[in-house]
């Protein structure tokens, strides 16, 4: 066959230049070596892509569904559809509960729509920066209220044990569309050990909500003695020795007490009055509420230089950020609520409303966080591939750059 390539044993692909970060090969072991050696041997020739048969096939599929719009535009969805045609395409969206992750084009859709999610991420990032700025730049004040909240935050941060719930509620809109993030995390801590479970993680864009918790493989995560344990896919625990380069960063991120360090930067607070909080078990606790409010229109914020060194400094917003702090009779900081209602300056279409509430309870209680029994603890390199560290950093840098590009759009 003139147009065919002899193919006794085709070699695996090389994807060539790509934006896929190059990750080292997985660790070698006896099973994988045996599997490599057992690769089926094809003695049939491989057809060439420029052969007549392949050419005819190529022309037939391209003529059957010609390009709707030149320049790589996607084929328009049928009337009445949103473009998410997973129900219409059984090949791309294999509707099989056992294989719900294997939907490459769903991921591609997300990446293509990154501008939309970028809006959400940008808003969230802006919120984080603005909150930090607000906490740090409130007018100087030495009222006793400030001492009360800072003392309470320090006490809670230094508590030996406790439980914590975090809820995030974010709505954002601009002239591109609308977005929403709702998330909840339940955690507990005992000394340096931390455990948490993601209770919800929903994201929507233009009203179409996606339950991300359904895609997140983790149901519970524990950090015990420097080892990360995760119950993955509900199929049992795995343990990974936290690599040095992520150890501190990951445990800080996972530790719910870290949020309390921001209170140290507060420079103003006023007492609102008594407030009753309800704990998850229905019990109530009497507290004193304190509040800090920052007006983003305050020129001291924009001129402070706090935002100037950040990539996000060109994000402008008007509105107020409110920080509510609740201190109980024993001097614990029981709840920290940061909320805001922001709009784009000069009547622009962008707006964002957010509320992040962190509640501490059962402080000093009998909290047990143990390593799961009988779990094989792996080195990070064993799990993720030797040399993962460098690739992780490269991937992180790439992601960060992408996000900042989104912000510039």
């Amino acid at each position: 066959m003139v147009n065919d390539t002899p193919n006794p044993r085709p070699e695996p692909h090389h994807t060539g230049a790509s934006d896929v970060p190059s990750t080292p090969q997985p660790p070698t072991d006896e099973v994988l070596d045996r599997l490599r050696a057992a690769r089926p041997v094809d003695h049939n020739p491989l057809p060439r892509p420029d052969g007549p048969q392949a050419n005819a096939f190529l022309e037939s599929i391209m003529s059957a569904n010609p390009a709707a719009e030149p320049g790589g535009s996607p084929t328009p969805p049928p009337t009445g559809e949103t473009g998410d045609d997973r129900r219409l395409d059984p090949v791309l969206f294999a509707d099989d509960a056992e294989h719900d992750y294997a939907r490459p084009t769903v991921i591609s859709d997300r990446r293509r729509r990154r501008g939309g999610y970028g809006m959400i991420l940008a808003t969230a990032a802006a919120v984080a920066v603005l909150v930090a700025g607000a906490l740090a730049l409130l007018p100087a004040n030495t009222e006793p209220a400030l001492a009360a909240v800072q003392s309470a935050a320090q006490a809670t941060a230094e508590a030996q044990s406790g439980r914590v719930d975090v809820t995030v509620d974010l709505d954002a809109a601009d002239d591109i569309g609308t977005g929403m993030v709702e998330a909840s995390v339940n955690g507990r801590f005992n000394g340096p050990d931390v455990a948490f479970t993601i209770g919800a993680f929903d994201v929507s864009e233009d009203g179409a909500t996606e339950d991300l918790i359904g895609e997140l493989p983790l149901s519970e995560t524990r950090f015990v003695d420097g080892v990360l344990y995760a119950d993955v896919d509900g199929e049992g625990w795995i343990g990974v020795e936290a690599p040095e380069f992520v150890g501190a960063a990951v445990t800080d991120l996972a530790d719910p007490r870290e949020v309390l360090t921001a209170v140290e930067d507060l420079v103003e607070a006023t007492e609102v009055g008594p407030a009753t909080l309800t704990e998850p078990d229905g019990a109530t606790v009497e507290t004193t509420q304190y509040r800090s409010v920052v007006d983003l229109g305050d020129e001291s914020l924009s001129q402070s230089g706090w935002l100037a060194g950040l990539e996000l400094s060109d994000i402008e917003a008007e509105g107020e950020i409110t920080v509510d702090l609740y201190v109980d009779g024993e001097g614990w900081l029981r709840q920290l609520s940061v909320s805001g209602d922001l709009t784009e300056p000069e009547g622009g279409p962008g707006e964002a409303r957010f509320e992040v509430v962190t509640s501490f309870y059962d402080i000093g209680g009998d909290i047990t966080i143990e390593a799961p029994e009988g779990v094989e603890v792996m080195e990070a390199d064993d799990l993720l591939g030797e040399g993962f560290e460098a690739d992780f950093e490269a991937e992180f840098d790439e992601e960060f750059d992408l996000d900042t590009e989104d912000l510039d759009e």
């Binding site: 997985p26 190529l58 320049g71 795995i238 993720l384």
Partner: protein, 189 residues
Amino acid sequence: MPTPTVSPAPEAVVEQAPLDDETRFRRLFETGYQPLVAYARRRTLNPAAADDVVAETFATAWRRRADLRPGAAPLPWLYGIAANVLRNQRRSQGRALRLVDRLHHDPLTAAVAEVDLELPDPELHDALDRLSFDDREILRLVTWEEMSHAEIAETLGCSVNAVGIRLHRARKRLRHELDITSIVNPDHR
């Protein structure tokens, strides 16, 4: 035995420069056709069946061509579509296909099942067949396609970390199946 290669030339990657749909897809076809045929044959063990998988994969890729980001490596994307094609075929053909699968590994009925590829280490293939499709696929992508974790993540539409976890589990399960095989037949080692 001659050893041809199906590795695409370095330039055979979907380019970043703006190209019209047709040109991009033609380049994708040139790049991915032979690797995809080889991929499909290794899974169907039959060139005719592999041709069906390749045809449906490219037809789907053409419909969804806008999803392939400029600069992205095309093979992980194509393999991801092909995996869904294979999965759908298995589901639609149900028992009949599973029977044929078993026959593939039975030397007495191999001719009937039209197995045209040579299968080294049949015991291992038996053990592999007892795994779920997803376990098999991630193991095959690592060893037969020699893909990196990042490429597999692109293919399966999951995170790199998830690839590591799933691969770890799949290896354990395959090792378990091989252990069973060795117990049943101690000569198989």
